[in-house]
Each structure stands twice: as structure tokens, then as C-alpha cells.
């Protein structure tokens, strides 16, 4: 059977590189990555809670462990994950309610997520150092 309509060549866009996503897309993938990291952090959170509440000695050990620069850096990484996940999550909850759906506000709030969580991480980092 002959082709009755001329098939228009469709643009092919194979590049799904992270940096080629629009900002809301980057927030979304970071939400997923930070969520995965936070799941891994559950064990650390319980370990610290367990030790810090067990006895004064254990409390001191946990506190001492957390004051090591390398541990501080890792903890700050997890804190960034938490803050990003928190801010992006609140944005998603508002999107669920139909707030901030249009393109310009969706982009603005996506930028806001990065700025607010970044600033809070920076403040926290300065505070614990």
C-alpha cells in the first residue's frame, strides 16, 4: 500500500542529560536522589538517637564522633539532602493542590527550592564549624 500522507520527519531528542532538563525537572530528579540518600541515612539517624539517649558516656561519644571534620562533612551532605527534600516536598504538596501550576511560577518555585535549601545548608555548615 502506498503512503497516502507524507510523513513529516519528527525531531529526535535523545539527549536526556541531567543538565538539559528544565529547572523543575532538575528539582524532581534531585528530590529522588536526596530521597535515596535519606533512606540510607535512616540507619545513621537511629544509631545516633540510640547512642545519644542511652547514657551520658554514649552521648559524649556520639557528640565526639560528630565533631570529626570528615563526619561533619558527610552529615552536612545528608543535611543538604534533607533540606532539599523538605523544600522540594513542600513545593510538590502545593502543586498537588493546584497551586503554582503555571510555567513561570513552577520555574520560580523550582529555583527557590535550590536557593532556600542551599542557603539553609550554608547557614547550618557555618554554625556547626
Amino acid at each position: 500500500m502506498p503512503e497516502l500522507t507524507v510523513r513529516k520527519p519528527r525531531p529526535i531528542w535523545y539527549n536526556i542529560n541531567l543538565l538539559n532538563l528544565p529547572v523543575p525537572g532538575i528539582v524532581s530528579i534531585f528530590h529522588r536522589i536526596s530521597g535515596l540518600l535519606l533512606t540510607l541515612a535512616i540507619i545513621g539517624l537511629l544509631y545516633c538517637l540510640d547512642g545519644s539517649l542511652k547514657s551520658e558516656v554514649d552521648f559524649g561519644q556520639i557528640r565526639g564522633g560528630l565533631s570529626h571534620p570528615l563526619v561533619k562533612l558527610v552529615a552536612l551532605g545528608f543535611m543538604w539532602s534533607f533540606l532539599h527534600h523538605f523544600c522540594a516536598g513542600i513545593r510538590f504538596l502545593f502543586l498537588d493542590l493546584g497551586k503554582g501550576i503555571n510555567l513561570s511560577s513552577a520555574r520560580a518555585t523550582a529555583y527557590a527550592v535550590f536557593i532556600v535549601s542551599g542557603l539553609l545548608t550554608l547557614i547550618l555548615g557555618v554554625k556547626i564549624w
Partner: protein, 115 residues
């Protein structure tokens, strides 16, 4: 408008709702917790332990930790479903995640009610 009859077991809706409810619980608890820690005169063993001794705080903290487990389950399930194509491996990872999170919940209870 598409008039589509939704069929199936609706697991998706339950998970979707559980993710959002647990998110709100965690968000509220986090804010309350940060304020309470900032209000401590100083942070030492006694004041830190004192945070968790009131019954309602233990109750709230347990709900927070339980929400973490539920939320982590829904999120990890999404990740496994999206990226792990082999059914056997996906099922193994999903069951492993559930067992791990349930075990962690037990530990969390023990930590809180021992205080």
C-alpha cells in the same frame, strides 16, 4: 473529557496518599523539633534526654519515625519499579526494603521507650 472507569486494586492511590500524609507529619514534626532544640538553654545529655521524656513527645517522635519508614517505602518502591527491569531482582529488593524498614521501626520503638 475522558470518561474512564478506574479498575484495579488501587494500591497506587493508597501509596500516593500515604506518601503525602507521612510527608506532612514529618514536615510538622521537623519544624516543632527544630524550634524545641533551639529553645534549649544548652545542649547536653540531660536537656537532650529531657526532650524525649514527655509522653506526647515520645508519641510524636514515634509517629515521625513511622512516617519516615512509610515514606521511604513508597519512595524506594518507586525507584525499584522505575529502574529495575528484572522481576525477580525487583521483588527481592522490594521485600528486602520492607523487612529492613520494619526492623528499623522495631529498633526505633525500643530506643524511644527505653528513655
Amino acid at each position: 473529557m475522558v470518561n474512564r472507569v478506574v479498575v484495579g486494586a488501587h494500591y497506587g492511590l493508597t501509596a500516593w496518599l500515604a506518601q503525602r500524609v507521612s510527608a506532612v507529619v514529618m514536615a510538622v514534626y521537623s519544624l516543632v523539633f527544630v524550634v524545641k532544640v533551639l529553645m534549649l538553654p544548652q545542649l547536653n545529655y540531660e536537656t537532650w534526654r529531657g526532650l524525649f521524656t514527655p509522653g506526647w513527645m515520645r508519641f510524636m517522635t514515634f509517629l515521625f519515625l513511622l512516617s519516615i519508614m512509610v515514606h521511604a517505602w513508597v519512595g524506594m518502591r518507586d525507584i525499584w519499579m522505575d529502574y529495575i527491569k528484572s522481576t525477580g531482582l525487583r521483588l527481592t529488593l522490594q521485600v528486602g526494603t520492607i523487612l529492613w524498614l520494619v526492623g528499623c521501626t522495631g529498633w526505633a520503638m525500643q530506643i524511644l521507650w527505653r528513655v
